[in-house]
Amino acid sequence: MPLFGRPKFASVTYIKKPSNLAGPTDIAAETVSKEKPKDTCKGCNGSTPQHEVTANLGICPKCEYHNPMTAMQRITLLSDANSFRELDSNMKSVNRLGFEGYDRTYLEKVKSTGHNDAIVTGLCKLDGQEYAIGVMDFRFMGASMGSVVGEKLTRLTEAATSRNLPLLIVTASGGARMQEGCLSLMQMAKTSGALARHSLAGLPVFILLTNPTYGGVTASFASLGDIILAEPKALIGFAGARVIQTTIKAELPPDFQTAEFLEKRGLVDRIIHRKGLRRELSLLFSYFKPGIDARS
């Protein structure tokens, strides 16, 4: 999806504008050019051309639906230009179980996304504040968590702990990766353990829940933020709605498992419109720097 005018992101530090100008609107302005109107908004079923949605950070201009962003689009939105340094970008999955069809699916996704697995991790700055960022990319096998996602996130968290950095994880996932069996289940524990150490060091964790976040990801790091943010209308839950419906054989509430539903029930601190995300995150970071600007 050539949102930034490039079909793939070979370089993770690529950005055209200088850092002090790289606000969300500037990024959006670059992106219109070569788009052909093909796909349309997922929120209002086809009434808005893709390029209009893309030009608006993936937000549909008509229905305000927040369409998915790729990991690199998200990082560009949430970091100062040229500040992102990716970690462990070469780490690859191993088909330890010899699971039928896994190698093929995996290679297809590597090819189509340009990433080696479903999460991009690294260190970057936002308005000068250095922090650790991990962003899941739903295009890669539904951003399911296997060993690579677990290991990269654990290393990122450990790096944040040793460097005294806050950590932001942008989640989107169908859950654990079945093709890696119980190894993927154990990544829930591994990542949570790393977060325990990060937390003991007195460092803050920010989670941004995006559509959709489910299963083992919800039941581990996605729920372990000191601050849990969510994008409007994002679907978030442990069990999928279909599984629940099959189990209880009853109708589900209309807003079931939406960010709004979870905000009302106390899981989510704030629902943030994507256009305000960069500013709010920067503001949140500033509250964790005691002594700076204390009198201003």
């Binding site: 690859k92 289940l185 949570s192 353990g193 150490r197 003991l200 729920s223 629940i244």
Partner: protein, 317 residues
Amino acid sequence: MENFSLEFERPVRELQDKLDKMQIFAREHNVDMTRQLDELEKEIETTARDTFANLTPWQRVQLARHPKRPYSLDYIERIFTDFLELKGDRCFGDDAAIVGGFAKLDGRPVMIIAHQKGRDLKERNRRNFGMAHPEGYRKALRLMQVAEKAGAPIITFIDTPGAYPGIASEERHVGEAIAVNLREMFNFTVPIICTVIGEGGSGGALGIGVGNAVMIMENAYYSVISPEGCAGIIWKDGTKAAKAAEAMKITGPDLLEMKIVDEVIAEPVGGAHRDHDKTAVLLKNALLRQLANLDDLSPEGLVNHRYERFRVIGAYA
């Protein structure tokens, strides 16, 4: 349920029935049939050994779900003394799908946290088939915090198809409840020993499964998703559960090799359900052995050991 037996158990079951009848006959007619009875018992032993020597993963899943299989309270009553159940999450309610409380293991105080299934219809409903709601996991955490204060090792028994997938469960954030347990279990300075005694269903199992030692019974399974669920998603066919059970490598030997478990506890021939007492002895011995190993570690040592134990799990290049 008295007559329940799995398809592949039937030959053993039939011989067992024959033995029972012969014993009754011998008693009623006051005939000495010792020789015939001995022979039949030997035949049962051999048949069971043959049947159980090469079980498929799917057959083990069926045994893990066997309605006569020992559940946590069956083990608790046989292995420990002075069990003192403690209830409630201090927040919403008490979840009967997870039981917990102090007990003594050969006189040594421990805290038990365990999934509990029901034996009859009424109890099954009360225990929700061992599928806990968030309050079950929050109770578990609370009791583990109590154990930390008491300096009592934490012993968990895992036996659940999974955390309950329902509206209430989601409304009260079962994912968060499990996640917090995962994080907090890494911080306790007492030994934690977890054993999958039957079904190790996904996050609902792991939610009380972060231990210094993790063991699994011979005929139990530990999986990221139920075999039926996996088959439904990957092959769009829930009936391919046997294939999924095979593919996901969810039983003892495979899990041992991947370092997901540290020990596979052998069951009596024919499965745990054929001899609750004997199985409990085997489980108790394993618990004592693991606990003795961990006693060499300092409180900080235990925390680091647990971290490193999980830190190394994964397959990547």
